[in-house]
C-alpha cells in the first residue's frame, strides 16, 4: 500500500496544479491582465474606433487570453497531451465557427434584395443588379 498523497502531490498528480506554479504566477497573471484591460479601455474610450484600433483591441484581448491561459490555467509545455490536443482542436473549431458565420452572413446580406428606395433607383437607371 502506497503512502497517501499530500495535497500538493495529489493536485499535481491529477494535473490540476503543477508544482512549479506558485503565487508569483498568479500575481504576474493578475497584474498583466489588469494592465491589458485598462490599456484596452483607454484605447477604446480616448481614441476613435478606426480599423487599426479595432485590430489593436482584438490583439489585446488575445494577449490577455494568452496571459490568463499561461498564468491562471497553467497551460504550457508541461501540459499533458490529451488536454493540449483538445484545447488546440477547440480553438480551430471556434475560429471556423466565428469567421465562417461572419463571412457567410455578410455574403448573404450583400445578395439580399435592396430596399424600396434603392429598387426605384435601379429601375430608373436601368443598372444591372
Amino acid at each position: 500500500m502506497n503512502k497517501p498523497l499530500n495535497n500538493a502531490e495529489y493536485l499535481e498528480e491529477i494535473g490540476a496544479l503543477p508544482r512549479s506554479a506558485g503565487v508569483t504566477a498568479y500575481v504576474i497573471g493578475f497584474i498583466g491582465s489588469l494592465l491589458i484591460t485598462l490599456g484596452a479601455y483607454t484605447l477604446a474610450t480616448h481614441h476613435a474606433l478606426t480599423t487599426v484600433n479595432i485590430i489593436l483591441l482584438g490583439i489585446l484581448a488575445l494577449l490577455q487570453f494568452a496571459v490568463q491561459c499561461i498564468f491562471f490555467l497553467h497551460l504550457g509545455p508541461h501540459t499533458d497531451r490529451p488536454r493540449a490536443a483538445t484545447f488546440a482542436i477547440s480553438l480551430v473549431v471556434v475560429l471556423i465557427l466565428i469567421v465562417g458565420s461572419i463571412v457567410i452572413m455578410q455574403n448573404l446580406n450583400g445578395r439580399m434584395m435592396p430596399d424600396a428606395a434603392h429598387m426605384q433607383h435601379y429601375m430608373e437607371e436601368g443598372d444591372a443588379f
Binding site: 494535473g15 496544479l17 498568479y26 484591460t37 477604446a44 484581448a61 487570453f65 477547440s90 458565420s101
Partner: protein, 184 residues
C-alpha cells in the same frame, strides 16, 4: 493508482465544449449586431460600468487561484476566506449584470426588441448563468470544506471549480472587448 484521475480531463472536455457554445453565441452576436430593427444600437452600453464588472471578475479570478494555492499548502482557514471573497465578488458581478439587464428592460429594450438585443441578452445572459451556477457550487464547496476539510474529493472539486472560474473570466474578456469596447 489515483482515484478519479480522469475526472479532471472529463471536466476539461466539458469546458472545451462550453468554449464552442460561447463561440456560437459570439458568432450570432457578430451577425446580429446591426439588426436593430429601428431600436437602439450599441450606444446603450455603459462602458465604464462594464469596466467595473471586468475588474470585479478579474480580482475574483485571482482570489480563486490564491484559494487553490492555500489549499495546496494545507491552509484551510485561508483557503475558505479567499473562497468567500471570491463568492462575494462573483455575487456582486451577477448583481451588477442583472441591474444592467433590468435597466435595459425598463427602457423598453428587452431581448424581444430586436435581433441585436436578443443576441446580446443571450450571450451575456449565458455567461451570467454560468457564473451563477459557479456561485452555487462555490457555496456548496465552502460548506464541504468547513465540515470535512481537505480530502482528495474536496481538493479535486476545488481544483475543478478554480478551473471553471478562470474559464469564465477568459470568456468575459471577449464579451468586454467585442460587446462593450467595440460598441463605443
Amino acid at each position: 493508482m489515483i482515484e478519479h484521475k480522469d475526472n479532471f480531463f472529463g471536466f476539461w472536455l466539458y469546458l472545451m465544449t462550453d468554449l464552442v457554445l460561447f463561440a456560437s453565441l459570439f458568432a450570432v452576436y457578430a451577425v446580429f449586431r446591426g439588426s436593430t430593427f429601428g431600436g437602439p444600437g450599441t450606444e446603450i452600453f455603459n462602458t465604464s460600468f462594464a469596466l467595473m464588472e471586468t475588474l470585479i471578475l478579474l480580482v475574483s479570478s485571482f482570489t480563486c487561484g490564491i484559494a487553490l494555492l492555500l489549499a495546496r499548502a494545507g491552509n484551510r482557514g485561508g483557503s475558505i476566506a479567499f473562497l468567500i471573497t471570491t463568492l462575494a465578488l462573483g455575487a456582486a458581478f451577477v448583481y451588477f449584470e442583472l441591474s444592467e439587464f433590468a435597466s435595459f428592460i425598463a427602457e423598453g429594450n428587452g431581448p424581444s426588441r430586436s435581433g441585436f438585443l436578443s443576441s446580446y441578452f443571450t450571450l451575456v445572459g449565458t455567461h451570467g448563468f454560468h457564473v451563477t451556477v459557479g456561485l452555487v457550487w462555490m457555496l456548496a464547496l465552502i460548506i464541504a470544506l468547513i465540515r470535512r476539510g481537505f480530502t482528495h474529493s474536496t481538493l479535486r472539486k476545488l481544483a475543478l471549480l478554480t478551473l471553471f472560474w478562470h474559464f469564465l473570466d477568459l470568456v468575459w474578456i471577449f464579451i468586454f472587448t467585442i460587446v462593450y469596447l467595440f460598441g463605443i
